[in-house]
Amino acid sequence: MTEVSEKKIIEKVLGGDANAFEELVLKYEKTVYNLALRMVGDRDDAFDMTQEAFIKAYGSLSSFRGDSKFSVWIYRIATNVCLDFLRSKSRKQQVSLTVSDDDDEDAQLDIPDPSSAPEQQLMQKMSMQSVEEGLKTLPDKQRQILVMRELGGMSYAEIGAALSLEEGTVKSRIFRARKRLCTFLLDSGNIPDSLASKGMKGGGET
């Protein structure tokens, strides 16, 4: 599907043909799901976040600007949905003072508090699991940008435009995220010895 045909689909949807939206869902759902999974670290939550992201995108399709790609737009919505979810979750965990919310999604389960990383099993090989654990230890902003870059395939310029950040900020945030992630994996024995290095220990403090 080209950008042009995506625009055509969007016009159709806005013109009242809701079924046309399914093509966009089919194209992006897998990536959005994986992006959500890396953001929230739990399959059930990622499932819900994926649904929510598409519903939001559908509901606000009229605000989609033709001057960025649809992919950029949907990934940004998805990461924001996840961030909101994580924030509301941490709020709920701190105080059980939930603002009454008439509908849905109150039966949420627990993501471990990212700041108290769970006991780390020593694995010889880096696994998807361990990368996910590591991602949970990153500050939200770093994780969001790294996920947009790695899973969304967005360039620094696209991320910068989507989040109103200077490209330099995007660059250094991705770098810090990687350092931190590698430091975590190294400390928890998840980076094979051959990759473990003084080099990584050196700069990973941020």
Binding site: S60, L165, K198
Partner: protein, 233 residues
């Protein structure tokens, strides 16, 4: 290149395909002769590869998404916001300024566009709106170049937004407004002031409640995140 830390940041860029050819060869030269940076490169690459491994879509998710789209939930009370986006075409936009104060208690407010009307002329908008016309309870404004979205959100979100739009500690002299507002937000929960224009410029946020724009406490990202989170509601 002698600065290893600098090189490592460039390694990160290299993995992301963000380096020029000249920069690439600089980095490659350095990692060929520096084992530490070499292993940083290997580790970054390994993590990157790992992150790219996608899981298949869980069973039932596609159907769940589609059924969710077909049965979009109705939303609650709170604020109405209107987002101005650049678009080539001119279009007419009805501004819903809110439910007549006193008619309903905030808790009973229902945001339904048919019930909304423009309570008053908003002088602050002069100059940015190219025309307006009355039609019963509604005033239609013609905007220079806009698209719109509206959302009704929770009172909690409205509160959060007001906090972000409070004057910054270092709020400096009046911001000279140029161009269109990035967002216009109209609050219908009965709390004054109930309308604000938001300008985002160079990463800073400026709010104009009708008495001139000032630098706001919240960051551009916080504002955008919040309003974008409302977008689908």
């Amino acid at each position: 290149m002698t600065d290893c830390e600098k090189c490592r940041e460039m390694i990160s860029c290299l993995i992301d395909g963000e380096l020029s050819e000249a920069e690439q060869s600089l980095v490659r030269e350095h990692i060929a002769s520096c084992p530490e940076c070499r292993s940083v490169y290997d580790a970054f690459s390994a993590v990157s590869e790992q992150m790219h491994e996608e899981e298949p879509l869980p069973d039932g998710l596609h159907e769940k998404i589609m059924s969710g789209i077909k049965a979009r939930p109705k939303k609650k009370t709170g604020i109405v916001w209107i987002k101005y986006l650049s678009a080539a075409a001119c279009l007419a936009l009805v501004i819903f300024a809110g439910i007549k104060s006193g008619m309903l208690s905030p808790a009973e407010n229902k945001v339904d566009s048919n019930d909304l009307y423009v309570a008053e002329t908003l002088p602050v908008l002069d100059g940015r709106f190219t025309g307006q016309s009355g039609n019963g309870d509604k005033t239609t404004y013609t905007l220079a170049q806009n698209a719109k979205t509206r959302a009704a959100v929770s009172a909690e979100t409205a509160e959060k937004l007001r906090t972000l739009l409070a004057p910054a500690e270092d709020a400096h002299s009046e911001y000279v407004v140029s161009g269109e507002a990035d967002y216009a937000v109209s609050f219908d929960d009965g709390v004054e002031p109930d309308f604000v224009l938001i300008y985002i410029d160079d990463g800073r946020v400026y709010a104009d409640y009708g008495n001139g724009a000032f630098a706001a406490a919240g960051s551009a990202q916080e504002i955008r995140d919040l309003l974008d989170a409302c977008a689908g509601e």
